[in-house]
Symmetry: C2
Subunit: 357 residues, 2 copies
Amino acid sequence: MSKVHNYSAGPCILPQEVLQKASEAVVNFNDLNLSLLEISHRSKDFVEVMENARSLVKELLEVPEGYQVLFLQGGASLGFLIAAYNFLPMGEKAAYINTGTWAANSIKEAQRVGDIVEVASSKDKNYSYIPTGFGIPNDAKYLHFTSNNTICGTQFKQTPISRIPIICDMSSDIFSKKIKVSDYDLIYAGAQKNMGPAGTTVYIVKESALGKTGNNIPAMLDLQTHIKKDSMFNTPPVYPIYVSMLNLQWLKKNGGVDWIEKINNQKADLLYNEIDRNSLFEGVTAVASRSNMNATFVLKDENLTEEFNKAWTAANISGIKGHRSVGGYRASMYNALPLESVQVLVDVMKELEISKG
Amino acid sequence: MSKVHNYSAGPCILPQEVLQKASEAVVNFNDLNLSLLEISHRSKDFVEVMENARSLVKELLEVPEGYQVLFLQGGASLGFLIAAYNFLPMGEKAAYINTGTWAANSIKEAQRVGDIVEVASSKDKNYSYIPTGFGIPNDAKYLHFTSNNTICGTQFKQTPISRIPIICDMSSDIFSKKIKVSDYDLIYAGAQKNMGPAGTTVYIVKESALGKTGNNIPAMLDLQTHIKKDSMFNTPPVYPIYVSMLNLQWLKKNGGVDWIEKINNQKADLLYNEIDRNSLFEGVTAVASRSNMNATFVLKDENLTEEFNKAWTAANISGIKGHRSVGGYRASMYNALPLESVQVLVDVMKELEISKG
């Protein structure tokens, strides 16, 4: 079979060599003649996986001393609550930027803990831009934002300037570009975009910032619980962590975050240039806020929909239908999507324009 | 390589044919030419997996009308909190039976929500028996117990008689024997024993019992959230759910819970009979409380330890070292462990006795 150009918004494309190794481990892991799925998480072999995965995160993101890396469960949706419980004293104030569905959900959960000030929002234009020029109350305990909006296709191009600690949900762009971890007290991210398969969530947390809320935090939601137990308070999601480790090894071997950031820029430039150049298409989001991960665009003439859909399907492209709340198309260009796949899509767009004369 | 007799306490042995299919899906799922790990959880192909998994639970356990089946994250440790939030109005009373480490942890988490009455405990004898003959306060909102103690090797042989609703953590014996779901308002169980690999937790809940606490429950901890979204409120742990589905298909194909219960009884009888017969060994737990899943035993003469360890290692047995809090040996005989593996262990025990004349 010919290759599928997989633009899925997440869970999403992973490198072929990662999938190959991941498949082998299910029948015979580390030549133990046992599956990775049927050994104890306390075994030497799995403890090594966990420690490798944590070290790779530190190495690839140049995590400074004093930060801890954890692989937990529950996705960013549980992270919304974990962030608030661990950093917001009950009833006190935190500042949130609302740039989409997930940001709005993070606000809703944090409101169970304290007083949430929405310091900026792009809801007025269906989340199609990243707000700028807003104030942050000095008495807020932290500023929370979502680095990339997967649904609409917007992305923060730099960390907001803030005098208070920053917490960020980086689910859809972590490991896609260089970040400065010391800018943040907490970074959390569901694995299922650039890190690995669904089922684990990475937390990168400044240890000295924890334990200051006075909140009575349930054990599983307390980051200190998990730090004390080296991310093994209870049985961890073994397989998602293993595949994440393989994927981070792949990233490291190929040149790390610097390397992938260049390629991600190339892919985004290639596609956005075509969206802007091609008379049949237009982008959905503000140019300055365009996401390198998820490019959203529409056909100017909706009557061409069927023809365009046939053309990209014939080119073996999958997963570019837009989210139901936005419509049109969404091309997700996560780390493992090769530049060639973007070229195939761009060619289909060009050919459609040529065929219309 | 010859076969490993895998007695791991969890994550634990899974059927070879399940592992084979699970391995294939990582490179090519449903002939899509895509990995199961890289497709959307909203795709037709994965929605079918989720629905099959939920249906298989209903079918295999004869779940009555009015109950919902969910596949969530966080393990039983998050379940401790979910149970209390969903069933215990803030500050009110619930009854708990303390039969081991996990039961004790369930109490600790529930104490964040209400007033927990420990109606019975076997802590006085290092959790080596299941307590009987205790009273349950009528004004408690529910009775909570842990059906099987994996660490010490005890198991409830019947559901406690109770006039109040019952909640049970069945992590280590669900699907190992027939149960009457209508006895319970909530059953929850981490997958990594008889259901599948680590990374998902099944909830079987009586829908009409929910929504009555008046608690302001965080979205991810509210079972009603997940029911409304057909267990897909956020990205589910795709792979652990898929492998669980394969494993439940294997159970169904072979004869279901009735079939496996007979085999599990045979395995337990074979091993416990040898423990009782063999002059070198003795069991750790009260005979009436012995677990069919985890048999714990010790050498009467510790000086034979090295010799015995060499002998079972040579027989390709793995994972029978006892938990550090109990010592000795623990042979976990989960569903996928064949009777032949138990025979191999029994033979090693017999031979040791013969060699000692």
